[in-house]
């Protein structure tokens, strides 16, 4: 049983609770038929104020595979927000119709407000450039299943570390495991926010280095976590164009990496990983997406108190 009612931040669950979710996800992977009716009669509301393909479909597929149903909207313009309704009012209405809700919002902290006004569990599916805790569950399950451990790892995160919410959530979550080192690869303008450095890395005495070149450090990594420079996070198009091609992982760069390094990416990718890398056995980003669905199945079962 989880202590937290909602999942808003990757730190809402203890390491032990995360482990319970991973164990359940692996049980679902092994025996999906045992779980295909566990959510019969349950309704998931998907409140997506910002476009999303992967996360929304992943949640919808997860609930449908558990026997439940899905209602919701996929952009703010098709919701009552377009008429000026507040998050608090929207969630109090959704609360009447659904058993659990997942929210993606362009404003940072929006799911926290939803949780304050909701009697049903709220899952943060990404809030602006802030947090994306279910991507973190996905990432951790992938690392655990592929590398066999969540400690003793050197993790390179590359690209947009300023607005990349998946990176912020990943660093926070991995900070609780022993002997994890971070190599932060980004252009100067897209470095991780100060609160991640001071409140997470330095506070927990986690070894980290910041660099702007991938080639020099790729050979030291157990995991390379690539991210996209996100157009939607920039107020200025010129800045986006200047920075979007900062890092492109291709076969030449992969030659510099160890044979045990794995490449991860929260997807969608634009051009930061060349298509030629897809055939490299170290490329795990599509398997990672599949783990995402299973971990969301496990998460919803737990939040609904069904196991």
């Amino acid at each position: 049983m989880l202590k937290a009612k909602h999942l808003l931040d990757p730190m809402d669950f203890s390491v032990e609770e995360m482990d319970e979710i991973f164990q359940l996800a692996n049980q679902i992977i092994s025996n999906p038929q045992d779980f295909s009716h566990i959510c019969d009669g349950k309704i998931l509301a998907t409140l997506f104020y910002e476009p999303s393909t992967r996360t929304r479909l992943s949640f919808e597929a997860a609930m449908l595979r558990l026997g439940g149903s899905v209602i919701g909207f996929s952009e703010a313009s098709s919701s009552s927000t377009a008429k000026g309704e507040s998050i608090a009012d929207t969630i109090r209405v959704v609360d009447c119709y659904a058993d659990i809700a997942v929210m993606r919002h362009y404003k940072e902290g929006a799911p926290k407000i939803a949780a304050q006004y909701s009697s049903i569990p709220i899952i943060n599916a990404g809030d602006g450039g802030h947090q994306h805790p279910t991507q973190t569950l996905t990432d951790l399950l992938t690392i655990k299943n592929i590398k066999g451990r969540l400690s003793n790892l050197t993790i390179g995160v590359c690209g947009d570390l300023k607005f990349g919410r998946t990176v912020h959530s990943l660093i926070k979550a991995m900070s609780r495991y022993s002997n994890v080192k971070f190599v932060l690869i980004s252009p100067e303008e897209l470095k991780v926010p100060n609160y991640i450095i001071s409140e997470v890395l330095e506070k927990n005495n986690i070894e980290y280095m910041e660099t702007n070149t991938m080639e020099e450090v790729i050979g030291e990594l157990d995991i390379l976590y690539m991210t996209r420079v996100q157009r939607e996070r920039f107020f200025n198009e010129e800045d986006y164009i200047r920075l979007k091609d900062s890092y492109i992982l291709d076969s030449d760069k992969m030659k510099l990496a160890s044979e045990n390094m794995i490449v991860m990416h929260p997807l969608p990718r634009v051009n930061e990983i060349a298509y030629e890398v897809d055939n490299d056995p170290r490329a795990y980003y599509f398997k990672q997406a599949k783990f995402g669905m299973y971990v969301r199945m496990a998460l919803m079962i737990k939040l609904l108190g069904l196991m």
Binding site: I87, I113, G129, S198
Partner: protein, 143 residues
């Protein structure tokens, strides 16, 4: 040495770091007061070298959290019949609500106006606060 009479009933805000007296004077809107008010600047202090003092001959409802934010060194003395009846040593507040406001344009508080602006203390020495919603860390003076 300038002499300023003691007050009969009211408040003495003591041990204000020299230079911050005017800021507190303005925050308490004492410039328009119709009762006796004294702002003493650069008074000698054994504790902090130089200090500012504000004496107010009136009862005031003061937001101590905001004062603690401006200067956590302050002592507030409540006076009745020319004697101190209560003394409060301010501390920097660990949590403030609707005292400071989040300026991150990506924060949900920028659009949901009914939400209280809540900040949590991260570093008292540096006066760093973290927004409850977006986690943005700001120095109090930057707000």
């Amino acid at each position: 040495m300038i002499s300023i009479n003691s007050i009969k009933k009211g408040i003495v805000i003591d041990h204000i770091s020299a230079g911050l007296g005017i800021e507190i004077f303005e925050y308490l809107q004492l410039q328009g007061a119709d009762y006796i008010v004294a702002l003493i600047m650069n008074a000698p202090s054994k504790k902090i070298g130089k200090k500012d003092i504000i004496k107010i001959e009136n009862e005031l409802d003061i937001d101590l959290r905001k004062l603690g934010l401006i200067d956590p060194n302050i002592t507030i003395n409540f006076i009745e019949n020319e004697t101190i009846t209560k003394k409060i040593k301010l501390e920097i507040p660990t949590k403030v609500e609707n005292v400071i406001y989040c300026k991150n344009p990506r924060c949900v508080t920028s659009v949901e106006e009914y939400i209280p602006h809540i900040f949590h203390l991260v570093d008292g020495k540096e006066r760093l606060y973290r927004c409850e919603y977006c986690d943005d860390i700001v120095r109090f003076k930057d707000l």
